[in-house]
């Protein structure tokens, strides 16, 4: 049985690398990624699972890192925005002007990246369903939608 009774070292697979972090059982993945690994792409917005600015991928699926304990991610593949290397979605966001202040952008990029891989032929309903997981206070969302539509096939 896996157990973690207090602060200790856990090994997480982040962006393809095995990384050791010192964490408490109650530390969220968001906190650990930012403070222990310096991966500050995932942002603390609401820290309540509402805004999506903290979105990362776990085993290829979008997950809100503020709603995930670091210890829960043990044994899984974690991908942060820093782990994307010129992914089509990143180019699309630049070309379509899909950001202003950029604070929500990493979260949106992770969701859109996963959507394009999991549902490359996403219908409008699927696209809307996925994108409603993230909030942006700067843009009108149209640019973000154009960016993700430019990389899916419908």
């Amino acid at each position: 049985m896996l157990q973690m009774l207090g602060k200790g070292v856990i090994d997480l697979t982040v962006n393809g690398e095995l990384r050791s972090v010192l964490a408490k059982p109650s530390d969220t993945l968001l906190t650990v990624l930012r403070t222990q690994l310096g991966l500050t792409g995932a942002k603390p917005g609401c820290e309540n699972g509402d805004c999506g600015a903290c979105t990362v991928l776990i085993d290829g699926w979008p997950i809100k890192a503020c709603l995930t304990l670091a210890i829960e991610a043990l044994g899984h593949e974690i991908t942060t925005v820093e782990g994307l290397k010129d992914a089509p979605v990143q180019t699309a966001f630049i070309e379509q002007w899909g950001f202003q202040c950029g604070y929500c952008t990493s979260g949106f990029i992770m969701v859109c990246h996963a959507l394009a891989l999991i549902h490359p032929d996403a219908t409008n309903e699927v696209l809307a369903d996925w994108l409603q997981s993230n909030l942006c206070r700067c843009t009108s969302y149209e640019e973000i939608e154009r960016a993700v539509r430019s990389i899916i096939t419908t």
């Binding site: 157990q3 709603l67 995930t68 409603q132």
Partner: protein, 276 residues
Amino acid sequence: MILIDFEYYKPDTVQAAVELYQQLTIQAKQPLFYSGGTEIITLGRVGKLYTGAVIDIKGIPECNVLEIKNDQLIMGAGVSLTRLAEANLFPLLTESAGRIADHTSRGKITLGGNICGNFIYREAVLALLASDSIVTIASENGCRTVPIMEAFYERLQLAAGELLVQVATDATYLSLPHRGVKKTRMDRIGYPLVSMAALRINNRLQVAFSGVCAFPFRSLKLEHELNNDGSHETRIANALQHFPAPIVDDVEGTSAYRKFVLKNTLEDTLTHFEGV
């Protein structure tokens, strides 16, 4: 940042989980079973929940099952709502649970967590109530299997230390004519004014609601009225006499508005299944 410190355990078996709960209780650690954990984390962050230990059930194979076996759909309590939706083995459940929170959050929210959590809506239970599903509950005394209509009253009635392991739905129900509806005040994502899961079996409607009263419910007396003869208007008016509690009046909507939305939802539902 969660304001409380707690221990984390991830047992491999149901028996280990329930025994561990008892041990931690004796140690005064006020343990909680942890599935998706979204409620524990969000309430812990604002200091509205205390626990000295969480028992993560996601390492228990029975809690991660999602399969059709022996003419039953077996769903583990640890299965995420996203996984349920992507498999879409039970379309009514996909519809009624598919509007809980948002898509990314549903990748963390689990079937058992939503049903057993403290938030009053518990919309994942609606399709299960409507489909006469069965729940398997574990305790230190072993496992028991109970019809959900007997085990669920306002919430799943679990004694301290009991763990929801699985839910089973007869495969007959999976492909029945059905309708899942969620009405919110404004946005697509939000708490429900009215959330409903309905299916039609043997020319009779079976229907469960959330958001209308302070808890999800399925009322056989209400169904009797909806399945009666007569105009839609008469049947709906009679059905509204059998809600188990007052209609909620809160910031999402007044009780009068909820009643208005509910009437229209029932009218649309009867029309959907029967025509005008």
